[in-house]
Amino acid sequence: MKQAKAAAKSATDTKSNPKQNLEVDTTQATVGNRFCENPKMSMRDVNVFYGDKQAIYDVSVDIAKNEVIAMIGPSGCGKSTFLRSLNRMNDTVDGCKVEGEVLLDGHNIYQQNLDVVELRARVGMVFQKPNPFPKSIFENIAYGPKIHGLADSRVDLDEIVEGSLKKAGLWEEVKERLHQPGTGLSGGQQQRLCIARAIAVSPEVILMDEPCSALDPIATARIEELIEELSQNFTIAIVTHSMQQAARVSHRTAYFHLGKLIEVNPTEQVFTMPEHQLTEAYITGRFG
């Protein structure tokens, strides 16, 4: 509801500025390269509602395997809502309704008998604020593999924990204190712990919702480097408020505005020669 309100507010804000003519033509299709061959995820005509307010309008886009796709746009544009519809995080929001198809390897994740817990193991999520469990570093990572039955023995579990922490670039910093609380780590370390936790259950896709906005520049740089490395094994969709971050880490950039997907193009094109006037206005800092 809050997001829909924000979207409506941002619409009036834009209109009230006579210098700009940035209204969205809702009949206009997304510009750019939306689709790819053999996509990991395919979204078709996705509409998301909070009660009777519509937050996402007819979004169709593919995410390729091992791609990093960044979603950018002003507050209330629907980018987080859209991201959350990719692993049914929106199910937890009262009155939220998703229409259209979200396909993971060709299967609709909104079909009725689907196991949402298993889905979220395949499509993991990292949130804005690091949210480690109030448990030890080891237990933070081991929890997921245990409940999903991914480890047959203690040795397996040790391997998963070590491997996940290594992939998240945290192993060297915490290997001596695996049994101390995860909450005792610094913010940047906690976020890498959350990434390690997400990858411990061997997901195929990782959704990141502003994963660096609570971190300092050094911790941010570490996470960004990590994203680059992770993309060799995972498909990553990242929502970010930092355009420079989108420019640095992503292969393609999707620009959302008032619930519409305005443009999807290779990142190098979006930041040098965007196709749509609205994308241009946003990334050059003319509104947002």
């Binding site: 020669m273 965007p274 994308t279 206005a281 050059t284 800092g285 003319r286 509104f287």
Partner: protein
């Protein structure tokens, strides 16, 4: 196609900074244009005083280049420009380089004007200097004008003129060689004129570069080396 404009940034200071480097670039362009005209006049009129002035004033062009370059670096560092803003700032850093080189060539022409004014001889070769000088000055003026209006069509028309300048340059060389063969006493003079037309031809190339940069900044299309 997004329109070129420096307005409407949320940070209005950024609008002003972009407008400022645009103004500075136009000033530098105007100065360089004047230097070129004076240098050509100095050759044709054997006016060593005017030539000395061009030589002296080149320092101002150099200073302008340094100032604008600094302003561009600051904008990149502070604002992280993107899309059309980024293309514009990058274009300016290249354009000032071309303008500075045009300033250099104008000074070289002025140097030769001083030498020529001290040499006796006929006015042979001045016709070529005047003709090529007019074409090249026109190209530069049109390029700057196209830049002021971000006019891609004008830029395309102007850059196409460079082919004619190159042809005129070659024909001027042939003329000069003919003079030298006809009268070996003219060789020393003719060689000085030859350096002048060579500089003019180079200036045509730089004006062409400016036009290519205008196309890049407006359309995002790199048309160099095509």
């Amino acid at each position: 196609m997004p329109k070129m404009s420096f307005e409407n940034h949320i940070m209005t200071q950024f609008d002003e900074e972009l407008e400022e480097i645009r103004t500075q670039l136009m000033e530098m362009g105007g100065k360089v244009e004047q230097q070129l005209k004076n240098a050509i006049q100095a050759v044709i009129k054997a006016d060593s005083r005017l030539a000395e002035e061009v030589i002296k004033e080149e320092r101002l062009v150099d200073e302008m280049e340094v100032d604008i370059d600094e302003a561009c670096i600051l904008i990149i560092a502070r604002r992280q420009p993107a899309a059309s803003d980024l293309r514009f700032v990058m274009m300016v850093t290249k354009a000032i380089n071309d303008l500075e080189r045009i300033g250099d060539e104008a000074r070289k022409i002025a140097n030769h004007a001083v030498i020529l004014s001290e040499q006796d001889g006929l006015s042979q070769g001045y016709k070529e200097v005047r003709h090529l000088g007019d074409s090249v000055s026109g190209m530069l003026a049109n390029a700057l004008d196209a830049f002021a209006r971000f006019d891609v069509e004008a830029a395309m028309r102007t850059l196409e003129e460079d082919a004619q300048v190159d042809l005129d340059y070659k024909s001027a060389l042939r003329e000069l060689v003919t003079y030298m063969m006809e009268d070996p006493r003219s060789i020393s003079r003719a060689i000085n004129i030859l350096w002048v037309v060579r500089s003019l031809e180079r200036i045509g190339d730089h004006a062409k570069n400016l036009c290519e940069q205008i196309v890049y900044v407006v359309k995002g299309k790199d048309i160099r080396h095509q």
